[in-house]
């Protein structure tokens, strides 16, 4: 109930903020761009639109999560609104979760709008809707939730600019870390292999949420892969939220 009130207020703040519309506009432009790209290339145009479109949805979704997530807690501290808020009968974790779900709700609405535009463009071009696409959207959303929690964690102890840089690095590393897996498989066993395995366990693997190739080429996806990606995303998000709560718990607001 209290979490819900904070979440709804966060949502209200976000949709009254201009930066959201700017990002939405840029995302829209990039979707149009994928359409144009398809026109000037040879090959399967629908595949290109799908590929570029999904990639830009994923990227702009993460960008929104980062830019807004890093300001979430920082703004409350910077504008000193947190003083009265935390003087109310709420726990600090309720504050954090409220902020988190408020942004998640905002991002859900944004992703919904972007996906609708994307599907509309595809429909114009091919005259049909691929329902498998919905799964890709769902996993983009899961990735956005994870990125939001990470952005929020950083913003609990750092300025928005620094947190944005950290979170963006997290996102980028997350999309190349699967390379480590290949490395592990090729390495001879030994201390080096154990070390890299350890690192791989801790750094995120956001490619788990990427089903672009399968969707574009209409390949079947085995259910255990879905299940793994879902559990991975939820567990990772919960873990980051827990760390954020611990960091936030004994912080002085001076």
């Amino acid at each position: 109930m209290k979490i819900k009130a904070i979440a709804l207020n966060t949502f209200k703040e976000a949709i009254r903020d201009r930066i959201l519309y700017l990002l939405l506009f840029i995302a829209f432009i990039s979707l149009i761009f994928s359409r144009l790209l398809a026109l000037i290339t040879v090959g399967d145009r629908i595949k290109i639109i799908t590929d570029v479109g999904l990639a830009s949805l994923s990227f702009f979704g993460a960008l929104m999560a980062i830019l807004m997530g890093t300001g979430l807690v920082y703004k409350e501290i910077d504008k000193k609104t947190i003083y009265t808020l935390l003087s109310k009968p709420i726990h600090r974790y309720q504050f954090l979760l409220g902020k988190f779900f408020g942004l998640i709700l905002t991002l859900f609405v944004m992703l919904f709008l972007m996906s609708a535009i994307f599907i509309f463009i595809l429909l114009l071009h091919s005259g049909q809707i691929k329902w498998g696409m919905l799964l890709a959207f769902a996993f983009i959303f899961l990735e956005m939730c994870l990125v939001t929690s990470v952005a929020m964690l950083f913003s609990c102890f750092s300025t928005p600019i620094l947190s944005s840089i950290f979170s963006l690095s997290f996102y980028l590393i997350g999309h190349v870390s699967w390379g480590l897996e290949t490395l592990i498989n090729k390495m001879p066993s030994g201390i080096g292999k154990v070390l890299i395995k350890g690192i791989y366990l801790f750094i995120p693997d956001l490619e788990n949420f990427n089903f672009k190739t399968e969707i574009v080429h209409g390949l079947p996806i085995p259910p255990q892969v879905f299940l793994y990606a879902t559990v991975y995303g939820i567990m990772y998000t919960l873990f980051v939220l827990t760390v954020a709560t611990l960091v936030f718990r004994h912080r002085d607001f001076i």
Binding site: M1, K2, K4, A5, I6, N9, K12, E13, R16, D17, K79, K80, T81, I82, Y83, T84, L85, L86, S87, K88, P89, I90, H91, H250, D252, F253, I254
Partner: protein
């Protein structure tokens, strides 16, 4: 009478900017606030008043010391539910309208919709903000922010109200309005704990005060006990008489405009001054007996002579 706030041996330091050293801000604060009184927490800027309040609210964590609010540990949610707080220079969500803002906070107090519908218009009216109910807070003046701040502090009908410099930055009329509300709260049986570095405002309404200077309580008690009611001296302003004639009766000086101001310390001399003025057909412009004020006490403790 039960105790509303009990603070015992509170210590808090902040990291200073340059050296990594801890700079002590509160150096063993102890005091108690009784239920149903207006308690003034007075001290110059930077004395540690805001820091004490933030410790009370659990916004910062002291290194040492116990705090009890309404008989419960101060971080307990039930204790906080009976509390109202107005921060110094209040800042609120500037994208919300006054009504939305009060709605948001009443949800945190778990007020039902039907309760909100009664409470919010009532508080807006009390704060004189009925017309501004639909206005975004970014368009509010300082005085209006102070009043909406007071309104949000009263949403839960609190037993204890903490006000940090509630009269700061207001014009005389605004100060009077807030002062009236504070007295009303006390009359309704609530406890008010307020801080201030301006004394005249507070003097007339506080039942008890504590004076904090550089992180230590230097004086506390009933105002009546702290301030002697004795007349210290009488100030008389006259015209149509020469200064030398009054010389023996007190400290006299010629003020701009040619009138004479004399500070008379003995009461029988006041009669003599008046008699002399009558004899010389001089005009008495004013006659003011001066008692000790809180300000004298304050200046006395801040800069011991």
């Amino acid at each position: 009478m039960a105790t509303a706030i009990r603070i015992n041996d509170l210590h808090k330091s902040f990291k200073s900017e340059f050296l990594r050293k801890q700079k002590p801000i509160l150096k063993g604060i102890s005091f108690e606030v009784e239920q149903g009184e207006i308690f003034g927490y007075l001290g110059p800027n930077g004395a540690g008043k805001t820091t004490t309040m933030k410790c009370l609210l659990g916004l910062i964590f002291p290194e040492k010391g116990d705090i009890e609010i309404l008989g419960q540990p101060h971080l307990a949610i039930p204790a906080k539910a009976r509390l109202g707080y107005l921060p110094e220079n209040p800042y609120f969500y500037d994208y919300l309208t006054a009504r939305e803002f009060l709605q948001f906070y009443s949800q945190l107090h778990l007020l039902k919709k039907s309760e909100q519908d009664v409470k919010i218009p009532d508080l807006l009216k009390k704060a004189g903000l009925q017309e501004a109910a639909g206005l975004q807070l970014r368009k509010f003046s300082k005085g209006m922010l102070q009043r909406i701040g007071l309104a949000q502090a009263l949403l839960n009908d609190p037993d204890l109200v903490l006000l940090d410099e509630p009269l700061g930055g207001l014009d005389p009329l605004g100060r009077k309005e807030i002062r009236d509300i504070i007295v009303e709260l006390r009359d309704a049986g609530k406890t008010v704990f307020l801080s201030s570095h301006i004394l005249q405002d507070i003097e007339m309404i506080c039942d008890r005060v504590a004076i904090i200077v550089e992180g230590r309580i230097v004086n506390s008690g009933r105002l009546h006990d702290l301030i002697s009611q004795k007349i210290l001296f009488t100030e008389v302003t006259l015209s149509g008489i020469t200064e030398s004639e009054l010389h023996d009766l007190g400290e006299s000086l010629v003020i701009p405009g040619g009138d004479i101001l004399i500070k008379v310390y003995q009461e029988q001399n006041v009669d003599k001054v008046l008699g002399l003025a009558h004899e010389r057909k001089a005009r008495i412009l004013s006659l003011v007996p001066r008692t000790q004020s809180l300000e004298d006490l304050f200046v006395g403790t801040v800069r011991p002579e």
